[in-house]
């Protein structure tokens, strides 16, 4: 590729997509500023920077994983599901009940374990190192329970409304969200509960330049590995399986899918299975990484998930993954410049600014592909 070609490409880009250039410029300026701060004595250390990026990746992958399900249901069922955050919570509670049951059976009262009641996390000692099987079982149950839940809700709530407008479904999903959240409230109570034994979670100190270290928690690592694996799984499923292709086809053009002979109801069911499963798994993993949860953590996370999904262009699962990581890193890296109270504001700010310039999101038009 010759220089002139590069030049003309650049010019075309500048004319056709000025926003890209502005975005690149802003990112470049911020990067330079980070460089300056790194260089300044007593400024940002490379260990801090590495920590921000790593934390951003962890948060981003968890949001992205939850976002994939939201994006899928949006592209195939055509509505923004405000209940998704509470699917995340439901999955987490179901999964952790089982993890505790596995980890503490014989030691503690079954009901206390099943309702994730008051047991000292020190005594229970749940961690990836101590009780990997319990955690694995919890993860599987989290996904399975959320799949069951989303299929049940689809049958009761959304199926009778299949031909309604997206806005009606959206409002109904707000109702679902409230009902779910407060059912969890009644069953499990209000308090934030500790889940894992912080003492027994392994930590890896990775040396970075300048004498500092990046501390990588074992549960963070677990989240990153499982989230990446699940995303890869979704990718393979959509790209290589017949049903996955049918899902993409239906997201692309529902009418054509119908005349092509794709069984649309079955695709819808499968969408809930994958979307719900991912929501439950992500809820479980987020709670694992944080070591604690309460009845509304999914709802609080929902706005962030929406921000990620919209940033990537609602309907695009790769957009959701990318958007999640972007939001996560933006949120954490913003700490270089602004106080931590505003990190959420930074994440929403990034979303709003992107929408101002690209009203359909970054990956718009690349529906579920």
């Amino acid at each position: 590729m010759g220089i002139s070609e590069t030049y003309s490409r650049g010019r075309n880009l500048a004319v056709s997509r000025p926003f890209v250039l502005v975005a690149v410029a802003v990112v470049a300026i911020l990067t330079l500023d980070i460089g300056r701060r790194l260089a300044a004595p007593g400024g940002l250390t490379s260990a801090q920077l590495a920590t921000f990026l790593w934390e951003g990746l962890v948060v981003g992958l968890s949001i992205g994983l939850a976002g994939v399900g939201l994006s899928m249901t949006y592209s195939i069922l055509n509505f923004a599901n405000f209940g998704h955050g509470d699917y995340v919570t439901s999955g987490a509670f179901a999964g952790w009940a089982v993890t505790w049951l596995f980890a503490g059976a014989g030691q503690f009262d079954l009901a206390t374990l099943l309702f994730i009641g008051s047991v000292s996390t020190r005594d229970l000692g749940v961690s990836m190192l101590e009780t990997p099987l319990a955690i694995l079982a919890g993860l599987i149950v989290a996904a399975a329970a959320t799949i069951g839940l989303s299929l049940l809700i689809d049958r009761l709530v959304y199926k009778p409304m299949r031909d309604d407008e997206g806005i009606s479904l959206l409002i109904a999903s707000i109702g679902v969200a409230l009902a779910l959240r407060y059912t969890i409230f009644i069953v499990f109570g209000q308090r934030t509960r500790g889940l894992t034994d912080a003492q027994s979670v392994p930590e890896f100190a990775i040396p970075v330049g300048g004498g500092g270290t990046l501390d990588v928690g074992g549960h963070e690592l677990t989240l990153v590995v499982i989230a990446a694996a699940l995303m890869l799984g979704v990718h393979l499923l959509l790209q290589t399986t017949k049903l996955g292709k049918a899902m993409r086809a239906m997201a692309d053009n529902e009418d054509l899918a119908q005349v092509t002979g794709i069984p649309t109801e079955r695709v819808v069911r499968f969408t809930w299975i994958i979307g719900g499963g991912l929501a439950g798994a992500s809820g479980f993993l987020i709670a694992l990484e944080r070591g604690a949860m309460n009845f509304q953590f999914g709802w609080i996370l929902l706005l962030m998930i929406f921000a990620a999904v919209i940033l990537g262009g609602i309907g695009s699962i790769y957009g959701a993954m990318f958007g999640g990581v972007t939001i996560g890193i933006a949120q954490n890296l913003s700490l270089v410049w602004i106080p931590s109270e505003f990190s959420t504001v930074a994440a929403f700010g990034v979303m709003i600014v992107v929408l101002l310039f690209k009203p359909d999101g970054l990956f718009s038009g690349v529906t579920t592909a």
């Binding site: 017949k242 993409r248 054509l256 119908q258 005349v259 092509t260 069984p263 690349v366 579920t368 592909a369």
Partner: protein, 301 residues
């Protein structure tokens, strides 16, 4: 009833085609058809012997026996929601026949096709395919019967690759029919070249071929084509029609709606002219094309 028509009559009809096309009263029975008063607006003269429907030039034998026809539409009333578009539409497609529906804008041409494929509100009449009633069936069931449908617009999955589009066409099969994909590739070599390319990146003509290829994946007995030439550059139009000819030559019956009446009527076995949601004429393509009255009516509406 058309079987009563002698060979002589048919050739007579062919000769007469230059002056006046035969008015169709539908094969379902003349008495029934004549009971239904035609719209007063209809200024066209009804042919004196009005019964004999077809005078197909190339496949006259098939066309002349609508009782054996693959697709048999009688007294069809259909529309969208509660809006009725079609009134008493009759149509026959014989096995392996190539039939075209032409007519002015808004005549209900595409509606006929969508009705056959179960995409409209069915309001009355019968649609039989291979002797079985298919009206009221859902599209996915009709696909099982052996009908393929290529819609006019948005007829490829843009975010899927060419090959994936073809696979979707055979969704109802348990296995991806590799040999059929090869058949389609042989028929449309450009699709093999672009096999892994996303359909959204292809040109209009290529998309049209892909859409046809997808509809042919189940090797249907009847292919429904809705304006295959729409939006194509003039040189591609020719190519498109050539390809349809070949599909038909290979034994697939074709029912096509076309705006490009000249080209379509020139190539088909039989043509139907539809006006205001009702049958106006039926005759061999050539005959219709050369009929002064049809020419005038077609320009008017």
């Amino acid at each position: 009833m058309s079987s009563e028509a002698s060979e002589a009559e048919r050739s007579e009809a062919s000769k007469r085609a230059g002056s006046e096309a035969t008015r169709e009263h539908g094969g379902g029975g003349r008495s029934e058809a004549s009971k239904r008063a035609r719209s007063e607006r209809d200024r066209r003269s009804v042919a004196a012997d009005g019964g004999t429907a077809s005078s197909g030039a190339t496949r006259a034998a098939d066309a002349a026996r609508p009782d054996d026809s693959l697709l048999r539409v009688r007294d069809l009333d259909a529309g969208y929601g509660d809006l009725q578009i079609l009134t008493d539409v009759h149509m026959d497609v014989g096995d392996g026949e190539y039939v075209t529906i032409v007519g002015p804008n808004g005549a209900g041409k595409s509606t006929v096709m969508k009705s056959v494929f179960g995409l409209t509100s069915y309001m009355g009449g019968t649609i039989e395919f291979a002797g079985e009633a298919i009206h009221g069936l859902a599209p996915e069931e009709i696909i099982h019967e052996g009908i393929g449908y290529v819609p006019q617009n948005d007829n490829v999955f843009e975010s899927l690759t060419v090959r994936e589009n073809l696979e979707m066409g055979a969704y109802i099969l348990d296995e991806v029919p590799e040999e059929q994909i090869e058949v389609i590739y042989d028929r449309f070599p450009i699709l093999r070249e672009r096999s892994d390319q996303r359909a959204g990146t292809m040109s209009g003509g290529q998309r049209q071929m892909l859409a046809m290829g997808r509809a042919l994946m189940l090797d249907p007995d009847l292919l429904l084509l809705d304006e295959p030439s729409a939006g194509l550059a003039p040189d591609l139009v020719q190519e498109m029609f050539d390809r349809i000819d070949r599909i038909n030559d290979d034994g697939t019956a074709v029912l096509m709606v076309e705006q490009n009446a000249k080209e379509a009527l020139g190539r088909c076995d039989r043509g139907y002219v539809l006006v205001n949601g009702e049958n106006a004429y039926v005759d061999s393509g050539e005959a219709l094309l050369n009929d002064e009255q049809v020419r005038k009516d077609f320009l008017g509406g």
